[in-house]
């Protein structure tokens, strides 16, 4: 596809989306809520079918866990957003005189990752429709079929409640025939959509390349960052409980969630207990030789990122790829490492059941390792701590640069909210400016509305009662003027 063809295709899609946006502008809150409810119900009803399609098409993760992800993307997201006001007057504070009116943004382009395809489609559709914005689904090239099916199910449900036509569109109808596929066509198509003047916003969930393309497109964007989640197990932690939670999280969908644990950091005084508990619960500690073998297949040194071959794969498959033998029933591989950085490839983000492991001599050393991990590709994303000492939790939270700091919680399921905490349920996790994002929030409906503030007159009494001639009196000090300004207040 030439750039011109890509532009023409984008024109057609965005013209339809703009008309949908126009119709949406008249839809009131109750009509909006009926549409969203219908979409949630249809998506939830199809959670298993879509999960199986996603696993089959992408070859990543486990369909059983993708059912849970689809449940998060539908049921939990719906519960989180259903009562949020998103149309017309959404608040009116008589005391401050500020009334807020919500306006939709316009057409939204949703970039969908291969790791969480159908759940992300459902999530982005729900938050877009709830905020009265049409959405265009742009699936990862290896997840077109399942994403289109998810989008189609949502669209039909939306139309059943008289939603605007074309309120949900998708960029391709059929799974890609890779024998005749040119990745440059895909890039040209995405670029034409991202830079289209009728597009209002990009919701970019995916790798660094696509997120950067979104941010440099000239269209406002919410992106995500890479994660490299350190997990600190403090000596105050309940160790068996901590390991059980870590394993449940890291094995979930074979570790595909970007908020999943990447490295365990603990203090020497409890290292033996932690290792023993990991072994009891299905962790396998790699020997030095085995670490080298796993590094070679888990990390793409040329590109400086994890290898796509291991993303979302089982322990058995990873062991086979690496040419090592692990005991039956192994749930997670643990690689004891002496440092963080390019010389230790497993210290970077690798989305599979593989964890780096560090034993620090004391608390301060452990914190320093966590900081190194945080700065090595995980800035702004998530961090995890197991502790029962509030002072330790606070210190860890202060040292980490992470949008989400999860306490005594599986990080992959904890970060998305709604399961283990009251964070907004989201499959787009903002990583703040250090992660090259505009927010550290879990992106949700509030990010997809323009809020107009109606400001009624409320006089500043101090300024009204203040003799403004004093502002021009150079014989008075600033402190004297401020004192007069605050007089009798």
């Amino acid at each position: 596809m030439t750039t011109e063809l890509a532009r023409q295709k984008a024109d057609v899609i965005l013209s339809k989306a703009r008309e949908a946006a126009a119709i949406f502008s008249q839809i009131d809150q109750s009509h909006t809520d009926r549409i969203v409810k219908a979409v949630f119900e249809a998506a939830f009803k199809n959670r298993i079918k879509l999960a199986k399609m996603a696993e089959k098409e992408t070859g990543i993760g486990r369909w059983e866990d993708k059912v849970v992800k689809n449940t998060v993307g539908s049921l939990l997201v719906y519960e989180d957003i259903k009562d949020v006001k998103t149309a017309g007057v959404i608040s009116d504070d008589r005391e401050s005189g500020i009334m807020e009116v919500a306006q939709p943004l316009g057409p939204i382009l949703a970039i969908i990752p291969v790791t969480n395809p159908t759940s992300t489609v459902i999530f982005k559709v729900l938050i877009s429709l709830k905020s009265r914005n049409p959405i265009i689904i742009s699936p990862h090239q290896k997840a077109v079929g399942c994403c289109v099916e998810a989008a189609r199910i949502c669209y039909e449900a939306a139309l059943s409640e008289d939603a605007p036509e074309d309120c949900i569109q998708w960029t391709r109808d059929e799974p890609i025939d890779f024998a005749n596929f040119d990745i440059n066509d895909y890039y040209a198509e995405t670029q034409a959509l991202m830079t289209h003047p009728k597009l209002a916003l990009i919701l970019a969930t995916g790798g660094g390349g696509v997120v950067k393309a979104a941010y440099t497109s000239g269209t406002p964007a919410f992106g995500v960052g890479s994660g490299n989640v350190p997990v600190f197990i403090d000596k105050s932690a309940d160790i068996p409980y901590s390991i059980a939670n870590i394993l449940a999280s890291k094995t979930f969908d074979n570790g595909t969630i970007c908020a999943s644990e990447q490295a365990i950091v603990t203090e020497k005084s409890i290292t033996d207990k932690v290792i023993k508990e990991f072994k009891t619960q299905g962790g396998y500690f790699l020997s030095k030789d085995e670490v080298e073998k796993v590094e070679k297949i888990a990390y793409d040194k040329k590109r400086g990122v994890m290898s796509a071959d291991v993303v979302g794969q089982s322990v058995e498959k990873i062991a086979k790829l690496a040419g090592i033998t692990v005991p039956a029933g192994t749930r997670v591989l643990l690689a004891p490492l002496a440092g963080v950085g390019p010389d230790y490839p497993i210290s970077s983000e690798i989305l599979c059941p593989l964890l780096a492991f560090y034993s620090a001599k004391d608390f301060d050393s452990a914190m320093k390792i966590c900081i190194d991990l945080n700065f090595y590709g995980g800035m702004g994303h998530s961090a995890s701590i197991y502790a029962n000492d509030e002072a330790v939790i606070r210190e860890f939270a202060t040292e980490m640069n992470a949008g989400r700091i999860l306490v005594n919680t599986p990080s992959s399921q904890g970060a998305v909210g709604g399961i283990y905490n009251k964070l907004h349920t989201s499959l787009t996790l903002g990583c703040g400016t250090t992660g090259k994002n505009i927010t550290t929030d879990n992106v949700t409906v509030k990010h997809l509305i323009n809020i107009q503030r109606v400001a009624r007159r409320r006089n500043n009494e101090r300024l009204n009662n203040f003799d403004k001639k004093l502002l021009y009196d150079e014989t008075l000090s600033a402190e004297e003027i401020i004192a007069r300004y605050n007089s009798n207040y």
């Binding site: 008309e19 946006a21 126009a22 119709i23 502008s25 008249q26 008289d162 605007p164 036509e165 074309d166």
Partner: protein, 98 residues
């Protein structure tokens, strides 16, 4: 009845739409309008009192506008919220919204 179309002596057809033009009512309206505007020279859609239009109404406007030469189709008496719909859709000028 979602619409009433009347033919004036000068080949002008005025279609006056009534109430909420949602998808269901647009289906009914489209049949009436398309049956009425054959051989029209000028078509006017009067939206006085129409508070809501669905996507299919925009499509109906497009179809009807193609029945006459450029400039001979117009839409009148829109409410502010319906005017905003045509403006957001980028159709106000092309459909001669007055």
């Amino acid at each position: 009845m979602s619409v009433e179309c009347s033919r004036l002596n000068n080949g002008k057809i005025v279609c006056k739409f009534l109430g909420r033009m949602d998808t269901t009512r647009c289906v009914e309206a489209e049949k009436i309008v398309m049956d009425s505007i054959d051989a029209a020279e000028v078509i006017v859609f009067d939206l006085d009192g129409v508070e809501y239009i669905a996507s299919s109404f925009l499509r109906l406007c497009g179809k009807a506008s193609h029945k006459v030469v450029d400039g001979n189709f117009s839409i009148v008496n829109v409410t502010p919220s319906v005017k905003k719909v045509f403006k957001i859709a980028g159709l106000a000028e092309r459909l001669n919204l007055r």
